[in-house]
Amino acid sequence: MNAAPQTADRWVLARHRLRDDALGILLLWSGFAAFVFALVFAVAAFRPIELSGWETASQIPRWFAGGMGIYMTAVYLPLYIAHGFTRRESMRQLTVATAGSITLLAVLMTLGYAIERGIYAVAGWPQELVQSHLFDHASNYPLILLEFLLLFTVWAAAGAFAGSAIYRNPAYGLFAVPVGLAMVVVSEAALNPGFLEFVTAIGGWLGVEADGVSVTASLVITLGCLALATPATWLLVRDLPLRNQQA
């Protein structure tokens, strides 16, 4: 028994995280979708359905992505360190796992539009979008998926940054949370040009059409946020001291 291999599975953390999270995401999404469509039918009893309910509902999962980011650095990272893994190993595997979870979530959210399309077609309701997106129609699945991916990425990265700061020192958190919020506001704004005044300025500065939603702008902003959040987070966690435990 003492001769047990040290690392039988090099990606044990990522696998562990992905298995747990994928199951949770599937369960939560199923409940969420059931609730959203039930609500649409309930509304349909009182007034005609004229727009996509899924679009409105999809505001919520981005908060979940942010929460996953916070948990990544404030909960799971210390857990894995305490169980005999380095910060570097843990962060690398947690990043891979979170990327996987976000992708799954984005796929499921895109699937929501497809399911809604089927339901609306049967009921004879129009699947109209009210907000601006990277996509014009609720059936442009590649762009829907891309938008969710970009959004969730920024939310998770901002969450991971804020989470590491809060764990390290609540005083750092006071600074990091507004920075994280600024990241998600900018990325949201890039998708909704009419949402905030300064988007025009950002759009102009980036040299893209300010009054239309641009894939390029969203990509650039997402990558920009990642380029900011990743080193900032690593700076906070590379020598992260575990908090002492209460007896």
Partner: protein, 308 residues
Amino acid sequence: MTGELELQDVTVRYGDTVAVDGLTATLGDGQIHGLLGRNGSGKTSLLSVAAGFRRASGGEVLLDGQQVFENPGAVRRMCCIRGAGDTVEHDWPGDKVTHALELAATLRPRWDRGWADRLTQRFNLPLRTRLGELSRGQRAALGVVLGLASRAPVTIFDETYLGMDAPSRYAFYEELLADQVEHPRTFILSTHHIEEVASLFETVLIIDDGRLMVHEEADALRARGAAVTGPAEAVDAFTADLDVLATTRLGPTRSDTVYGELDDHHRRDARERGLQLDPVPLQDLFVHLTEATDRAHTHSATAPGGRP
């Protein structure tokens, strides 16, 4: 089996507070080491650094000659148990006792599943209870299971096993000792409550104010203290050139606790002066040793990382 832990001039600072102050010690492979110190003496800070939970502000920690901090090969062979063993309490629905055990089984390369099950039963740990709802004793017992069954070559228990009730603590000592014969490893047990565990230790480290005061084989330390009792003047003359840790007077009788080996010459001398020599229990030695420095310099503020 290897697991020699070397602390070289280890310093831990929190801002201006020095919790561990240039501590150097080598903790031998396959031995049970007792780390004794009063609350706020720097035990937890020292162990956090030893396990790679925290980077030392100065100095180095080596496991079998290899740097510990951020070294996968080293940290994988260490298990430092604090509280309930650093388990996640806010991770619904995966936050039950059974999940904590499952996680350790996945992540600990030498995990002994069968033993973990037996220990869980022996300590009456409720598998389906959420971690946040465990009592203090149950949390400590969970930590004990996670530490023991990990079979990590260096296993550290930071005091919290003291949260268990007496029968559970005795069961813990029994399991630890029995396993130590079969699968020897390096244990470090920190405590401020010595009487009960002293006989478990092969070596004892006493730290006070972040400094190492004593690092000796437990049995050698037991032989190092003596209480010299008799007429005040005779005691005074006898202990004049000895290291006196404490003095008590009762009328014309005086009793000095001295630290250091008394040779045959001393013993004969004491007998001739009509003095009585008594051995001193470890707990008393510890109290006197740490009190002596207390008097030497007033205590600075407790480290913020210290146990409340």
